[in-house]
Symmetry: D2
Subunit: 427 residues, 4 copies
């Protein structure tokens, strides 16, 4: 097993949710420092003011994350350097004139429980998540390992390159604000070439298996998340049912009607009521309900259509049940498109990696990644960008708690990036 696959398993074992990736950040920085890199950490990486206030951890949560990180083997010195803020940037600066290339590796996990069951490799081979409500079910453990591999391999070929190569280990892709807070700090301002990678995308509407690649994606959806809190009135369901204002039923009706929103002829729409929490006791009409709604549209206009329909339904349902509601808005993750020129670079690089037997030019994200915001930032000043899909066999689709991957893709992805860098940064 390669060193980088070992790293992947280590990150898999100690997953951390968005803005809590303290052990992960400390470990990345420690490894990179050992290689010889100088690392920026925490507040030097992310503009903490631009973290959506709704998701920013409290002082207590930050302290708890730091303590757990140390308890789970993080180097206290690097934990201290995070200042409680996750994210790491390392730069390979050749000192020679040349382009600036930036990579984005996302490092956070998803809030599920990983199943402890025989026959599931992370369990059988001892790298199952040891944190409850945390699992790398979207491959960010592998992405992080790829970033470390690229860092290591760059050093081997130090003299061949020109310009600068920036490795950005980004927190909070799954929640909100990771990419935006790094952009706000200016780390994309001078970037000429931008690359993000993701395992297990699709092409031609089929999942990409091992030995395939897509050189870029153009189908990012604009996404937004809303937390809705209905306030009703509790009452005894026998003694005074007519006095109640049933927030649970209202939330149920709203969720069904939101999922039944009509599609849009101009492009894809996606809505999901991902979470609901309602009620306080079995023998009490529920006075409160919380709904977490995510919507995505292929264009900003379509996203605006969905938003308008959702708020009509929320307003109408509140009226129907005599409720009030409040809504926390987590802001919008933008759409984005890969550049053909950058996709061609990747296509040529992939042709040089034997593991990739089938090369698709364009593939599908089939959703959202806040890397799109970084791509757009780079493109806004004339740079070019791509979002690569690294094919790999998986046990389950992404965002399933039992998601495991063909780890061979890690080394293949590292090779791929080295070939691409060789083309971009050769004298």
């Amino acid at each position: 097993m390669s060193q980088f696959t070992e790293y992947r398993r280590e990150f898999h074992r100690y997953p951390e949710n968005g803005w809590r990736e303290i052990r992960t950040s400390a470990r990345i920085a420690e490894i990179l420092t050992d290689m010889g890199y100088q690392c920026m950490m925490g507040p030097d990486v992310v503009d903490t003011d631009s973290i959506v206030h709704l998701v920013r951890p409290s002082i207590e949560e930050m302290q708890a994350a730091k303590e757990r990180a140390i308890a789970q083997g993080a180097n206290p010195e690097f934990v201290e350097r995070t200042q409680g803020v996750s994210g790491v940037i390392a730069q390979f600066d050749t000192g020679k004139p040349g382009p600036v290339t930036a990579f984005r590796f996302d490092i956070d996990c998803l809030p599920y429980d990983e199943p402890e069951k025989s026959g599931y490799r992370p369990f059988d081979e001892g790298f199952i998540s040891c944190n409850s409500g945390a699992v790398h079910a979207c491959g960010h453990d592998a992405h992080t390992a790829m970033g470390l591999g690229i860092a290591a391999r760059l050093l081997e070929k130090k003299e061949q390159f020109t310009g600068k190569i920036r490795l950005i280990f980004q927190p909070a892709e799954e929640t909100f604000g990771g990419a935006l807070s790094i952009i706000a700090k200016g780390h994309l301002d001078d970037v000429d070439r931008f690359i993000a990678l993701h395992v297990a995308l699709s092409a031609e509407n089929k999942p990409l298996p091992s030995h395939t690649i897509c050189c870029g994606c153009k189908d990012f959806l604009s996404a937004c998340q809303l937390d809705v809190h209905f306030e009703g009135r509790a009452a005894h369901p026998c003694g005074a049912a007519q006095e109640g204002k049933n927030a649970l039923l209202a939330a149920c009706s709203a969720a069904l009607n939101i999922h039944a929103i009509a599609p849009h002829e101009e492009g894809l729409t996606r809505v999901n009521v991902g979470e609901m929490r309602a009620g306080i006791a079995p023998n009490t009409i529920a006075p409160n309900a919380f709904l977490c709604i995510e919507y995505r549209g292929e264009t900003p206009a379509i996203a605006a259509y969905l938003r308008s329909r959702i708020f009509d339904i929320l307003d109408g349902t509140a009226k129907a049940y005599g409720l009030t509601y409040t809504c926390d808005d987590y802001g919008e993750v933008p759409a984005g498109k890969s550049d053909d020129a950058m996709m061609e670079v990747i296509g040529r690089a992939a042709a040089k990696v034997p593991w990739f037997e089938k090369i698709y030019f364009e593939g599908n994200v089939g959703g959202t990644d806040d890397a799109a915001a970084m791509m757009t930032a780079v493109q806004s000043h004339g740079g070019i960008a791509t979002y690569i899909g690294i094919g790999c066999d998986t046990t389950q689709p992404v965002h399933n708690a039992e998601f495991d991957i063909d780890e061979d893709c890690i080394d293949a992805a590292i090779d791929l990036c080295l070939h691409a860098l060789t083309e971009i940064h050769s004298k």
Copy 2:
């Protein structure tokens, strides 16, 4: 303020949820012991085997309840005597032949947060709940104080009585199993007369205000609670929506259809989906949902009708969404009826208490109380029973977190019971 009103405020300040009433039990036993009673506690009061396994606290929870009780001023000696099981019985045994009368006082609270706001007396006068998720919103604090008052007043008139008077301080009325576990222990086997009291019932379909009383109730509903767990399949709502099996939407559809179950011509039906918890993350199709359903029927046949409809809906919804589900059944609290003969005793007693200006013969529970099980137990061997409604002005209906009462009803209820006992137990 009478001593018993002070006790009510103390219990109001330290509310404890069903099967966690350790401080409450210790305090009751301490006060009664100080009066001169011998108290049975914990496993001597309740048959722990008959506590529904679903609601029985774990060892850790019992330990925590005991620690909190001591931290909140309970006498450690009496806490120890609980053996982690709540409930107290004291008996006034005259040593003379005569009937056995039992009283039931329920002692548990409801799982809400009491509002800390000016203008609300418990807050203004410093007896607001200091336990989160716990509030005496159903008057059991007053019932407990009434029990202590009856105990104290009995001692004053010691010589006048014959037979035995048993004071049962019952845990877990709001959840399940309190009454049944005491019945199982045999404490109702020899009872000739049974009395339970409750503040704030209604008569002629109007809440009973202060200075009123109803001598008994016959409209107990048969009740049952089900915890339903739907299991679906998580999936990314863009990347693989068609792979998901959406347990959240299924639960919403089930809840609406359950609330839309048709009524029954033969008597009252009540259903309530009191709680719902579904989903794991905004960007994930919800793989799980929990529903807490309560249903009540005026007769066992009507309750069976509701049960059948609920399970048809659960089965059908699971089919519609490709889910499986499991169901925890908390068992049935039975219906019950007060005896006219016993209600007449109460009517005569009430006529002797000036505070009661208006006496209704029959009033309404408008729901369920597991005292009905005790009434039925007593009636099954020829005893007679009643469930009295003590009128009192309230700030809100029962089962509202802001429920406070006119405390004058406490002393009136104590007087009432002494008059009734005088009739029953006089030589």
Copy 3:
């Protein structure tokens, strides 16, 4: 088979819906005239201005009803005398001083199709409905026959009676306005005793079988009917789905939420969305929806609660789907109560009819009958009234298209009424 049972079968064969009972009225008048009665018909019976405008037949419909009546054997002379308005009153005036007693017999049918199937007596014995969308599924055929029987039997005992006995054959009980339009004409103004009968009610929450009777009912519900028309916007469900405003889905959501309205602690509530018509074509988002809603409450306050909740849901649903709606209101049928004194008269009469083996004092309507308006009218000037349940075995519950009865109850009911009249009108 008695003559009156034969009449019942004739009416069963030619059922007519509310305000179209032309053949029925003509036939009643013809039979009564043949007996020697003078009959009031049509506009002399009902105040046509007080017929809810929404249900009043058009000139064309009246003409069609008259033509069909003649085609189905009605005497053209009596058809002409209806002037297109249904309803008949005959009076037995003894010429002697004494009380005025009025009977109400309802004569309309229900808008179903009667099943033509072997094993179903009306089919096997040839008296199945020959009008589509029309069936006597609520026993009014029997009530009408009872009225004719009482008329006939009165004549036999002519000399024994004092005062006046008025036989009111009322149209449109199932729809709206029958009773109100007769009250408006003044026919209840001088009535001292009022009796309405209905087959197949219940007592002690069980259907009344043959050989039983209940002497009165007190549980009439206040009822109201609303016709709701949602207006949305049509659109192609693929080509421009986002332009649609889906009235069908809105109606579905409204119907579910209306059926899920919480009950009321002070008395019974009943809601029914009885009809829905929505949409214009499969490949078009439905721009329109019609909902017919009926609600009933045990008191006017409860009915008002339901009305308020229904309109909140309609308003909220319209908001949620961007629709407008209009609502036709058919007005309210009131609640009502039988008088104990009148029920006692019936109890004594029933004791004299051997067919009645079991006599219940009070029974249950379990719903609504606009006879309640007549009862209230009589009571308002000091009269007394009752609504009797004539027990009879049935093939199906009322309002089922396959409802047939034990016809023996017809003669028993006639006997009963004669005994009651003997008590009331004896010298």
Copy 4:
């Protein structure tokens, strides 16, 4: 106004629904015969056995359609020749060797009522539909006129062409079976080039305005229509509500859940419950409900996914409400794709028509047209096909009852086709 625009207005005035286009067919045949064409009609055009039995008119309906056609000015001789079956084919046979080109013009209308209101041109200028429940809201009136125009213009240039040109006037595009029944008759077996035209499609997700064209479409969705009949049980909503099996509520729940079916990552999904009819009376629990469901998927696999989800929901809802249901299946209209080679022919032709100022290569159907079945039939034996979008300004989107068009597109489309035929059929 050109002759062909006048024809369009005539067809607009006398719209006929699918399989009732008798006047339309007779009139087409009369005009073509007057031009000198020999026409095939009725059973020579369509294989009547392959008309879905569910939509085939009864003898009575056929007779009525024929009578109305004559009443509305159709030539009785041609009406007779239809033999009650709609559809016309005319062929321009040059007698010289060469390719066979077929055009498809659809001739049926939609089942709406056209609004009679000032400011709406068909009303103001007197060509509004004179048939209720029938309106050309999808441009088939214009398509028919285009076909007649092409026929006329071909005759002018008779000598220039080779091969054969077949003009197919197809019934029942909006309902089902039109294209399939013509294919079944073999009229596509020898076709080398196939062209269908439609006004008012879109390109780049925007409606095509006047002066634009798209040369072909590839995004046909596979479509299917289901008529669902739920059978429940009627009951009185007060008297015996618990006996009812409410088909109306079941249908509502099914409709909401069907509209909430998750999308599919591999391509577009569309579902529409277009019609609902439920219930029989306001005071009766609805024993029956009819739902008309249409679903479409971008691929057969996606359509199969939708079908499976729909039947799960129907099965589950039937279970939840204790109902049975039956389902009439109207069969599947297939997906299809235009050929690049044929689209290029159209592109070259469009460049020669000055009216077309903007030429899109590929546009969007955004839905379904059974022309896709003809395209697939032609492609299956090596022919090539396209489905052209003729841009035109409209008052409303298609499938809105107030749909009117910029009629200038008619002559432009005729010109376009003549240019295309000149390329295909020149010596």
